[in-house]
């Protein structure tokens, strides 16, 4: 499903964010990625859908050779991968509804199908009543939930979530986690970077700990703590 081999990412400013990571993630797995601030979690994740290109190493996602992908193939990789971005990345001029619909229109789905699915995912994240608002009119947590709704709208084979509960209260966080569990149960691979200790400790899944750009621990049913 997702294979990384000796992946290194050195940014233009000389910072080595990922320093030799090799990992296999099977179809249907649920993986937490944890680690201190600036450890390279987001970079690790961004390379999977080619927001960043590794400096060296191999990455394979749902059969695509990601670093070697031609420009015109990238959109098709990204359609297999739903992403909840750490900074949401909502289109500021579109309403909540339109933001989610856009990600579906890109696949040229029928308007009927789009309408139904958008309202469905909006009610899943509890924001059906805010469909007509612009992102700037939402609270931080609401924007985050729209980003989640958009990521799952196309029922992707892989769901990548970077800190999806960072702006949510514990109650809402749990609701979102249950949603992700359901999606995972339907066979979607989930990779989730998080700082939320209680979630990682209570909903046990594979935990990959990244420190200083390297995987320092990789436990099948691990807990959060990565310090000694």
């Amino acid at each position: 499903m997702i294979k990384m081999k000796d992946v290194v990412k050195v940014y233009d400013n000389g910072i080595t964010a990922v320093n030799g990571i090799s990992v296999h993630i099977e179809q249907g797995e649920f993986v937490y990625v944890v680690g201190p601030s600036g450890a390279g979690k987001s970079t690790f994740i961004k390379m999977m859908y080619r927001e960043e290109i590794p400096s060296s190493g191999k990455i394979e996602v749902t059969g695509y050779d990601v670093p070697q992908l031609k420009h015109n193939e990238i959109p098709y990789l990204r359609r297999q991968v739903g992403v909840v971005f750490q900074d949401f990345k909502l289109l500021p001029n579109l309403t909540v509804y339109e933001n989610i619909a856009y990600a579906m229109e890109v696949l040229e789905k029928s308007p009927k199908q789009i309408q139904n699915r958008v309202m469905e995912v909006l009610s899943l994240v509890g924001l059906k009543h805010k469909a007509r608002m612009k992102p700037a009119e939402l609270s931080g947590g609401e924007q985050q939930r729209v980003s989640i709704a958009r990521a799952i709208a196309n029922m992707p084979r892989v769901l990548i979530a970077d800190e999806p509960t960072g702006n949510l209260d514990p109650e809402t966080s749990w609701e979102i986690m249950e949603l992700l569990e359901q999606i995972n149960a339907q066979g979607t691979t989930i990779i989730m970077a998080t700082h939320n200790k209680s979630i990682v400790n209570e909903m046990r899944h594979r935990v990959i700990v990244i420190e200083n750009g390297r995987i320092s621990r990789d436990d099948k049913e691990g807990g959060y703590d990565f310090e000694a």
């Binding site: 859908y49 927001e51 420009h71 015109n72 990238i74 959109p75 098709y76 990204r78 359609r79 992403v83 971005f85 990345k89 909502l90 289109l91 500021p92 001029n93 856009y102 990600a103 229109e105 890109v106 696949l107 040229e108 308007p111 958009r150 196309n154």
Partner: protein, 297 residues
């Protein structure tokens, strides 16, 4: 690049939505297009009329055929018929030596009052107009070889000077038009580029949620075309109103003279087509080109 009809209509509605939602940006872009096209349209209207004016002047350069003093009426008619037969000749007008003298007197001042009609030192003249100004010289030569012709002049010096001046005017006008069109292309596409650059993050997000380059590009191209189109409306209106105003005010003064303004009918339509065409073309092309740098993400 093959477009489903549904996708196309989606692109169009998306582009309209973008224009409306970015209203101040759209307004700034539309007004930049407007003012640029107004400048181009106004100057083109002026320059094409200057060109027309130059042509009118050139047309006015006629060949003067001085008829032998000994020629009688019949021979003169024969000569006139022969001249008329030349393909390059538009018209032949007779001017008697008495009329010529009057011309001289009124043209040069009345110092010539002193000359009696009996002392009139001038010839009878045929004034020959050619269809094309450029044929003047050749025609003059051909006529010179005909019988009963004392001498032919096409006001060599004057004509050459006129042609030189009109050529100069045309060259300067051509350079100005070229410069204007270049300026318009540059300014309009530059404005569109700036507005698109300020939407770089938006485009990146579109790419990140899986849109293909063409899916992103189309609404921007249509938006550019619409901005160009909307930007052309006001200048086209102003040019029509302004040109009709100028035309109606100036034409009475020119009546009777050899000069006339370009008739609005085909001219304004051509100008409109040019302005709208420029707006739409530069707008859409400018969009398509500016967006490139954001697409390879």
């Amino acid at each position: 690049m093959t477009l489903k009809l549904r996708t196309l209509s989606k692109h169009i509605s998306d582009s309209v939505r973008n224009i409306v939602r970015n209203s101040w940006m759209s307004f700034a872009a539309v007004s930049a297009v407007s003012i640029t096209l107004l400048l181009v349209g106004g100057m083109l209207a002026l320059l094409f009329n200057v060109n027309k004016f130059a042509t009118d002047i050139e047309q006015d350069v006629s060949v003067r055929v001085y008829i032998d003093l000994t020629t009688d009426q019949e021979q003169r008619d024969e000569l006139q018929a022969e001249i008329q037969k030349l393909e390059t000749v538009e018209s032949v007008d007779f001017s008697s030596r008495d009329e010529e003298l009057e011309n001289v007197i009124s043209g040069y001042g009345d110092s010539f009052d002193l000359i009696d009609e009996d002392e009139n030192p001038l010839y009878d003249v045929f004034v020959v107009s050619t269809k094309e100004p450029k044929d003047t010289k050749e025609t003059a030569k051909q006529i010179d070889e005909m019988p009963y012709v004392a001498r032919v002049s096409y006001g060599d010096a004057k004509a050459d000077r006129v042609f030189k001046v009109t050529k100069g005017i045309r060259n300067v006008g051509g350079v100005i038009i070229g410069a204007l069109i270049f300026t318009a292309i540059f300014l309009i596409s530059n404005t569109i580029r700036i507005t698109i650059y300020s939407r770089g993050t938006e485009i990146e997000i579109m790419k990140l949620v899986g849109a293909t380059n063409w899916y992103i590009r189309w609404p921007f191209i249509i938006e550019g075309a619409l901005i160009g189109l909307f930007g052309a409306i006001v200048p086209v209106l102003i040019v029509w109103i302004g040109y009709y105003g100028a035309y109606n005010n100036i034409t009475p003064f020119l009546s009777g003279s050899i000069y006339s303004l370009l008739s609005p009918n085909p001219f304004l339509w051509e100008l409109t087509a040019l302005m709208v065409g420029m707006g739409v073309m530069i707008g859409s092309l400018g969009s398509a080109l500016s967006i490139r740098r954001f697409l390879n993400v």
